[in-house]
Symmetry: D2
Subunit: 469 residues, 4 copies
């Protein structure tokens, strides 16, 4: 199966947790919740259910709706469920690395789902291996599970805190053990996690968009450095570390669904803000604002509002593009953009266009889109990007190319403009992006744009060291 | 697999034909072309290739990208290819009914792909059966193939014309036989078919949107009552019947992709026109125009332009909704709308909304969407529908419910408004729709709205007589 | 999937028919019956059920137990069922050619399953095509169905008789139409068909071994030239042609299961007889009689009894050998015998062996087996074959290689002995084989050994003309 | 998929290991080897290859030929391969428990395949869990891997010896790590393991029957208490424990393929011996000796030889019986024997039969077979069983029912005779069985017959404690 891919960064995971001893078919709720988080990972999906401390699970490669059948869902009976969707960063991907991870230890059975990336995973692995620990996967969850098991003499919540004190990096965790559903967000809150209320229980999810399908009420975001323990239908909160909030700003740029709210900000509104600020920062005379669908659409509406240039559609997306069994050959490779996008000639012919894209990573797709528009008769194509140039690798759960493949890291804006064939090119400033998200621009990680990491990170090239060994 | 369906009419088929003895991998082109026509039928897909009169083919249930693998495409070598995607109107659907239909007869091998529906198919079947003919499928193509075979003494183009003189109804046909690719459009031109030019050959397709992915140049629409014969890399035209143009107006309302051009009119522009005219016909005071995505979006932009009420997004669609292995139980059935759509609360709260939908068939989905918007805080929801009430069954290839299930056939506008819980409701007039498509409003079939059929049709209930027997 | 094949001729089909309006789950009975006939065809399987003249069916590529699931069987509800297993003689095989064939014609719906091969199928096809008939498959059943449909003005049993008067070749047919289950055997009775009684109905089957699993009582063989019509729980017999019995003797040599009885003779006993007669015809001094398992085992026991040389096992078969996803490469091709057979060294070392095989077609496998035995220490290997040399092509439903690939057609016995490396080689005489089956040696076809065909046959090379065109 | 099962004990695993840096496609050899061991486990299959210490692997539920495709085998490139087939003893079985187990630890990557069962696994698990170890599977291999990892400071062979000093029970292990292939057999040699030589390397296998397909030469059995280390194309032997040989005698009764040689004894010959001794111990006047195919056939030949009663076939097995998608309903459950076996009426009618079976576990199948024979006209049926009554649970890798379900544990011979409806019943004595295997009857475990376990075992009911927790 060959994915038809665009030039976008990839989120690695989404998690969900549902507490509800009185809910029938809790695994079905987990299924629907995962379905709403499908955009966060399309490679594998898994659900584990906990019935009186006994955990059963199912995980496979594929989309949520491919992995789970009625039969499987029926077999997953329990009081608590956790679920996970994953996009793998390694070339080859196996079901071994699918999550949730389910293990037995001194304290019983435990299931973990993890969104994020630990920067000191290899170091801890080595230490653990020095003590004779074996590893069966290349996922960080196995490191975390081993740490928790080390402290099996303590109650589970203390054991988890002990484990957390050892790890550094980004993590939004959902864990189930005994009668508990536990959610954890790292001290920087790099990856999102929020809490919702359903009839008869509670929900934890990477994004609030999962709540609607479950008819759940949004309660609040989990704080950075907070652990919540849901038991006996009550939520208990433990602050296990000082909050140094640095939520990933790329969640707002591209990853999250626009109908999610993260740390108090609507993703939709932040994108519209970004479009508006971009119109202020890089104004242009033009006849129509169009978007690279779908990710550029919201910002394009904002840009149009601010610039008073009318919003229109210039590119139509094929809704059925997904994976294909046909490998486009050399000559057909350029097809990938055409398979996905088509120009509305009659709507753009002779017009000066503003083309809004959410981000540019390698630049390959942008060139092809500008070409298509020009070939269809666009008089001018002014590219406006709703995020700053991506210049630095992410170490917190986003799959970024090495720096030499980041067009923004090795080229000037003018060079990029020429490469993609645009008449003008403007990127949103870092300040602009920050302001588009939070009025004070605080509490966000913008390291992929600025190189200003919220913690010490490994040197370039060591990012996925373990996975490659 | 349980489809997650909305309240929409269903197109039955899409066809493609590619002539290109000098083109390598002609089946791959057919694959990409079918992929662009996927919206016209998601149930089965098939490709037949013709090499010196010998035809090989492959067809299966599923989406184009599920049905065809590299291996299969490699095996389909030929000079001419035809392809077909199908949505079945019967409850149970089997691969037997997938197309293209490939048969052997006196004249050799022939492959046919058909989009449309014959109104006298049963009558001809009976006549043929009187002469001892057997039928192995319930598709009209088998009737057509039998008719052609009757006239095997004539050259193929004459045999086809003889066959056409017998059938009534809607048909866009692609046929390959010998060294020829043949395209036919019925005398009313009820279903679309157009001709494109590629390097080394020609393309026939239900919609022009398939041309772009193939880098084909749009040449022209096939006329109503015209047959084109492509051979020796030349296109020959035969007018086999008088043109009484009545192109299906629902193609513009919903079926066709907005980036297609049909009989000279851009689908995109016709939809924007429809939105504009609707704004004139049913103006309303409101704060924002939103669409039921994706089909209402273009008209919503038109409505916004005309009414000067700003366009915005109020509903977000889950891009991964398709078929699911999980059967929503009674209690979860209402989920189907939520699985697909989510409200952008923060963008609509306290606002008076105009909600643009392309059409209302049964009305079930509309009610749920209005409920969602109101529950999310919308102050008012004014529903505007970009087509007239659907009141009559289609006999020309569209799957319409029986009249008693058509909300527009048995209720007044006010009753529908109350049913769906809208603050006001306005449907585009038939005249408005006609004008939105063609400036003079001519050459269109609007029978599903007006009952004014372009030819005599069977009595209600007999529509799919054969399929049910 | 790569079959691991031995040097054997291939039967083309097996059929079953079950009449039982009062039987619940008639399709399940058909399933179990087909399962017992699996040895007659492993490529595709199908079942059609008839409920008040309405026929539903399911057929797919694969073994019976792969094709049918509980869900499919549940959907196949009816009063009468017919089933079919098929081995295809053409290189590429498609589900299109799977049986039963289900068609609609003037007389209603009809389903046919056919075991055999018509020698004048192409001629009739051409005649039918002259009259405008189309063909969608390359199976003879389609010819028969068309002929029946020609005579739709007559009652079905007369129409079938009319059709039968046109065809020549071998056929055991099961047909269902209206309230009837019909069985037909060709005037030579080349292919077997027998009748059984179950509680609440009747069974028709290619072999009586299918009766046991259904708890059916064997009633009798259908006569050559007989048609039976089962209706209102009664069996009516029509002799539509004079009997010129010539049952395929290879059924006894290899195809049929030893626990079947055909035309009054136990397949098991005929094989034991063959072994005994062979011992008389080609006696040898040796220490042990061993068989090529499993097909040579029964004859080996007979040979041992007659010769007083003890029977033993020298070759062990891997019970799990079937199809494999691994394509044995050039170097590994010789593995195929080893994958399937293993020598019992300790049981044969230093011994003079009589190796009993049922038949030799190309001779490739025999050479490898003799080599294995010698390498394991056998002092002598005397090959005895329980059938005469295969010298002529079969036109009646058996897949024989062209004559130049039949080792017996182009080589003397001595040449074959040298080729396979045996110390001596003896083939059963034609008379011996005939006597092993029927005490008077009458009523059998032995054309593949003698060239004495029971009817005129096409010239070599035209056997599967239609399939190859 | 519903297995069509007989009343037999189930072996749990088979292992293979191939050393061959100069062999191309080593994974293909492992595949063919596993294929020959398929009878030892049909539920899952796996292969791990080691290239310079880096291990890649693939394992899935299913038969060897279902699990591995050309593509998968091509991806498994290495110098050393180990493979495993498994039959699971727990009701639900998951790919998680498939083997080989591949883990990373301080010493690098290691892969293990295990045939057997540890009696102190739970105790060690608990100790390890006390030290914070997590377990992801319920297989003993994970315990062994953890023990090895504990001793990572030592060279691998010493670490393994240290680990072995902790475990008790049965184990035949194949391990690959670094440049080494290692084979281990437990101090009692309960499970078999042998060494073969191939061009360019060595082979380890559960049974010697795997050597033939690989064209490998049998070298010797691994001794009880021996570890062999294959490196630099040399075999080094370490005796890590004193030999107290107690090879499972049921390997000879049923599990092993007759063409294997174990600890110097041909399985085929031991079975023939068993038949002969049985004829001495329980002589009977009869007309024919028949076997329950295939497992009783060899002994039946022996019985016939000794008793001078002729050997014949009375039961024919359907070669295609395997798993089915159709769940036999209550009424059809009795079908299972009929689906698999058919009586040769004409060969047994009126005869006094000796029916040879290898063993009787629950007795359910025996009753049905005797019924079938009697219904087919057998005058008398004298059942002779080539092993003593199974009275005790096995703790060394065989799946035995609890004692109350062992017909031999709770009933007298006469009671069993009545239950199964036989005219007489004789079981081979323990001494007879021992002698049939080894002339001196030494070095064998016969605990399932005698209760005389070669080591201390857990109390009844705790056998699969861990798997059930």
């Amino acid at each position: 199966m060959y994915p038809i891919q665009f030039d976008k960064l990839k989120e690695e995971c989404g998690v969900i947790g549902i507490y509800g001893p009185e809910i029938e078919n809790i695994s079905q709720l987990a299924y629907f919740g995962l379905h709403a988080l499908q955009h966060r990972g399309q490679e594998s999906a898994g659900i584990a259910v906990n019935k009186d401390g006994k955990i059963t699970y199912y995980k496979e490669m594929g989309l949520v709706q491919e992995v789970f059948s009625d039969t499987v869902i029926q077999r997953l009976q329990g009081d608590i469920a956790i679920g996970h969707v994953r996009y793998s960063t390694t070339g080859e991907s196996f079901v071994t690395n699918a999550q949730p991870l389910v293990v037995h230890y001194k304290g019983g059975a435990i299931a973990l789902g993890h969104n994020g990336n630990l920067v000191n995973a290899n170091q801890i692995r080595e230490e653990l291996e020095d003590h004779g620990v074996i590893f069966q996967t290349s996922i960080d969850s196995e490191v975390i599970a081993n740490l928790i098991a080390r402290y099996n003499a303590m109650p589970i919540d203390e054991a988890i805190q002990k484990a957390l004190s050892r790890i550094r990096g980004s993590y939004a965790l959902v864990i189930t053990h005994g009668q508990k559903l536990i959610g954890v967000r790292d001290p920087n809150g790099l990856r999102p996690l929020c809490l919702g209320k359903i009839e008869g229980g509670y929900v934890l999810a990477s994004e609030s968009c999962a709540f609607n399908v479950l008819n759940a009420e949004f309660v609040r975001d989990i704080d950075a450095g907070e652990m919540v323990i849901i038991e006996e239908n009550k939520v208990r909160s433990i602050r296990y570390a000082e909050e140094r909030k640095a939520l990933c700003s790329f969640e707002f740029v591209y990853f999250a669904r626009p109908d999610s709210i993260m740390d108090g900000q609507s993703v939709y509104l932040s994108r519209r803000n970004a479009g508006r600020i971009l119109a202020q920062e890089y104004p242009v005379e033009a006849d129509m604002v169009i978007a690279v669908p779908d990710s550029g659409t919201v910002a394009a509406i904002g840009f149009a509002e601010e610039s008073k240039i009318p919003f229109g559609e210039g590119l139509i997306k094929n809704r059925y593009v997904g994976r294909t069994f046909i490998q486009p050959d050399q000559k057909m490779r350029e097809l990938s953009v055409r398979l996905k996008l088509n120009v509305l000639k009659e709507n753009i012919k002779g017009k000066r266009l503003v083309l809004i894209d959410d981000s540019i990573v390698r630049g390959t797709t942008s060139r092809r889109i500008v070409d298509l528009l020009k070939a269809a008769g666009a008089k001018e194509v002014h590219v406006r990007v709703c995020s700053p140039p991506v210049k630095f690798s992410c170490y917190f759960g986003i799959d970024t190319p090495t720096r030499k493949n980041l067009v923004g890291a090795v080229n000037s804006i003018e060079e990029i403009r020429q490469m993609i064939g645009a008449d003008s090119l403007g990127y949103l400033s870092i300040e602009g992006l920050m302001k588009s998200i939070h009025i004070d621009g605080q509490g966000l990680c913008n390291a992929c744009f600025s190189g200003d990491y919220p913690m010490e990170v490994p040197k370039e090239g060591n990012k996925f060291l373990f996975e490659k060994r």
